[in-house]
Symmetry: D3
Subunit: 126 residues, 6 copies
Amino acid sequence: MKTSYENGRDLLERLHGGHLGERMVNELNDVCPDFVDMTLEWALDGIMNRPGMDLKTRELLLIASCVTLGGTAAPQLHAHIDAALTMGAGKEEIVETILQMLFYAGGVNVSNAFRVAKEVFKQRNI
Amino acid sequence: MKTSYENGRDLLERLHGGHLGERMVNELNDVCPDFVDMTLEWALDGIMNRPGMDLKTRELLLIASCVTLGGTAAPQLHAHIDAALTMGAGKEEIVETILQMLFYAGGVNVSNAFRVAKEVFKQRNI
Amino acid sequence: MKTSYENGRDLLERLHGGHLGERMVNELNDVCPDFVDMTLEWALDGIMNRPGMDLKTRELLLIASCVTLGGTAAPQLHAHIDAALTMGAGKEEIVETILQMLFYAGGVNVSNAFRVAKEVFKQRNI
Amino acid sequence: MKTSYENGRDLLERLHGGHLGERMVNELNDVCPDFVDMTLEWALDGIMNRPGMDLKTRELLLIASCVTLGGTAAPQLHAHIDAALTMGAGKEEIVETILQMLFYAGGVNVSNAFRVAKEVFKQRNI
Amino acid sequence: MKTSYENGRDLLERLHGGHLGERMVNELNDVCPDFVDMTLEWALDGIMNRPGMDLKTRELLLIASCVTLGGTAAPQLHAHIDAALTMGAGKEEIVETILQMLFYAGGVNVSNAFRVAKEVFKQRNI
Amino acid sequence: MKTSYENGRDLLERLHGGHLGERMVNELNDVCPDFVDMTLEWALDGIMNRPGMDLKTRELLLIASCVTLGGTAAPQLHAHIDAALTMGAGKEEIVETILQMLFYAGGVNVSNAFRVAKEVFKQRNI
């Protein structure tokens, strides 16, 4: 049976591709290796991997949260738009998710989020 | 054909029940009646009523945003948990939506959001 | 010549009435009397009392900031709507200031701010 | 009679110059053309164009909100400082507006906002 | 050897007293029992219980974060001021911690935080 | 006896080195020289210089606040991690301070803060 760490790594790879997984582990491993473990075991295996809701919907919810957090979450917004598309979301669903935030996160954050989405769409040629 | 205002009123009633619709119109009508119109025409008919995403998912996204906004959006969180249930979401989906915010909105906001969810579940006897 | 503390007290009284000034000094004086001094000398005499902009406009700017901060600033929003009216702002200017925040502070904060404005208008019978 | 979209375009041009208007429409037109329409019809014609408050004061209020939102609104802060100057605000009024936020938005956001103002002043040679 | 859950329960009791521990487990246990486990195993045993920094300093850091989060974290601010005092912090250290936030969290949040501190000091008769 | 301005300058130099002090004074001196004075007299001499808490702990509290504020405070986070190290904090204390924010500031802000810490550690070769 796999450990929680291994389940987290598998899910990270499934959502973001092996490349991002490697980069993430390498990037913060020398500053705080325990934080890398927590991200894999708690955020990925502990929360994201739970039953009761599919991964595409979970990614759309994270997009909603990142748009609401605003500029501080721009790198995470990029990663979750990409992961939502990988999990089967269409371009229209991404656009509707961001637009739905207009009267909650405000127009500034929605406008900035569309710029991030535009980048991801361009990178994936969609 | 219905006006945008009427479509907004219809959707408000469908999501929140006629009682809340009446209260909302009456409550701010003497302070800023134009804001009531904007809410119905822009937020409800203009955004929420769009094709491309079902109302249940839209309500879950608004819950995600309200949890991320924190205490300032507590009344709106209450209303959208209620509306998500009306649109067919199960109790488990509400719980997973809130829990999914843990590493984004933070534990303080998630903990407070569960207290709001508990109230709504109690009011609906679920 | 008056001290900075005295100028701050005078301005506090002019904006909020003597009653609020007394309450404010008494309320936090036993927890952190230096913070009361800082508020009077820095925020009131040091910033608010500066030339280059009239007090009514300064109060409208503080209302804009309080609406943007959201629920955490609800007591301050109440005080500054009241002070803006005292400084000669009309009800319409208060309403336009709050509404102007819609695509910046978001609909949640604007909606909650109108509820606060409604209270102040009621207390002043306007 | 002009449509709301046309009124919004006219106001955008008046506040930010034709160049920014073109860039804005072109930039997000392929991601979400409806959001461009909403910005013009709702935010510009629907809110900004309302009677009851002059455009210079509205721009100062938006600066106050952008300073309070912090880094997430840095591009918008730049645009609104520029628009406020176009609407007749002096350099001193911009500085006072930002400084007035010190005890509300905090010193971090005020300090960063002055850096943005410095850029705008430099671009306009004032 | 104790489980992570038991270590979390022990630390919760040490910081907040057995009464709060019971209330917390009972309050959210029917909404989301897994969140109670996560709080004990992740936030308390996983983070708070780590070596490298004493509990009093950790509590002061949490007070700083709660003041910065503002009103949304008012119940948590109350609990952490209380826990910091239990861990040996003096009244002066609490006051200095809150005041230190003035140019970061802003005067609104600092002012509201002092009101919370005043309540805790009163409850403990200090 | 030194003036408050001079005390603030001395403390700025002690915490951040003479180079940063010069840069700060020069950078905003042409936009708003009064803001430079306020920073030195109020934030540095008025708050940071107070008795009742050592400078290292004050710097750790500011790190906690900057992590909680998120991306808007990234330059300040960099400066305060550097100053905390200058005041005698070890690398482990910086890491624990940031990690302690996980359930308050959220994982997005903690993750971004570790990237800033990594930069500071690299610049200081630690």
